[in-house]
């Protein structure tokens, strides 16, 4: 599963962007400087938010270990399972592909495909990144979107459970 983890695509992309900027500099230096200025302003705006994101990530990583979550999911009762899928999905950390083997194991131990789907959908809601989404779209939007997504994660889980399980 390391193929995605060790990808250098981001670095190639960055290199490509630098090359394009160099090219634009030779064709139209004014455009290059106005592009750079625009980008610099975005960076200036998001750096303080990123400091907050980092802090929230440390808190999440400090309190939540993937192994503990997996152990807890394994013990879930039927009644609590949707609630657990939502909560554990939201607080789970790390890249998504790190979770596939664990979810496969949980499936063998009795977790339904619906549960897995709801869990994966809720991984989209990341508390440490909330300051960023609030900054761009506002607090009202963030709250409504989060609630709607949680509801639809359960709808998705139930549909998948009906069809596959």
């Amino acid at each position: 599963m390391k193929i995605i983890d060790r990808s250098y695509t981001a670095y190639y992309f960055l290199l490509l962007m630098i090359l394009i900027y160099v090219l634009v500099f030779f064709i139209n230096p004014d455009k290059m400087f106005s592009s750079l200025n625009f980008s610099y302003n975005i960076v200036k705006q998001i750096v303080p938010i990123f400091a907050l994101v980092f802090l929230l990530m440390v808190v999440t990583n400090y309190f939540v270990a993937p192994e503990k979550i997996a152990k807890y999911i394994g013990k879930q009762s039927k009644k609590k399972k949707w609630f657990l899928a939502v909560v554990t999905g939201i607080i789970s950390t790390g890249p998504i592909y790190m979770w596939y083997p664990m979810l496969k194991e949980l499936g063998k131990k009795g977790a339904s495909n619906g549960f897995t789907a709801t869990f994966l959908y809720n991984r989209a809601i990341k508390p440490p990144l909330l300051p960023m989404i609030i900054y761009y779209f506002g607090i009202k939007f963030t709250i409504v979107l989060t609630v709607v997504m949680i509801i639809f994660s359960i709808v998705q889980g139930k549909i998948i459970e009906e069809v596959i399980d």
């Binding site: 990530m57 950390t93 998504i96 897995t116 989209a124 709607v148 998948i160 069809v163």
Partner: protein, 140 residues
């Protein structure tokens, strides 16, 4: 400093460090697009038909991948350019729920039928979630 805290800082630092190259690239791209491409270009891509726009937003979000933060930055810029909130919402929702890049790995680990159905449903839901979210925002 205890070991657990050190590990948490290290893990978070690594995650942020991994985000940096792609984020800088995207920000540089936004700067370039802003300077070189006329603002009208985005209005050509999005038609102002809410269903079609959310479909386009969801489709764009599905094929693009990476950290959610990148989608917020791009989404914020789309809004600035006059793209509708519905399309942008579908875009950021599909970005985080549909994983075309991870599809082979997901199929291999959790089954082809499951992966296809989950990603297909997530795409459709990105449009529905966008429509409902913007509708609720309009009435509250």
């Amino acid at each position: 400093m205890n070991k657990k805290l050190r590990q948490a800082i290290h893990k978070s630092g690594k995650a942020i460090y991994r985000m940096i190259p792609i984020m800088i690239s995207i920000i540089l791209l936004i700067g370039l697009v802003n300077a070189l491409i006329p603002k009208k270009a985005f209005t050509y891509l999005f038609s102002k038909n809410i269903f079609l726009d959310s479909f386009i937003g969801g489709a764009l979000g599905s094929i693009m991948a990476g950290n959610p933060v990148t989608s917020y930055i791009l989404g914020g810029e789309f809004l600035e350019q006059g793209v509708s909130l519905i399309a942008v919402t579908a875009f950021i929702v599909a970005w985080v729920t549909v994983g075309m890049v991870q599809l082979p790995a997901e199929s291999m680990m959790l089954g082809k039928k499951f992966a296809l159905m989950r990603n297909g449903l997530s795409f459709v839901f990105s449009i529905i979630v966008a429509l409902i979210t913007v509708f609720i925002l309009g009435i509250i």
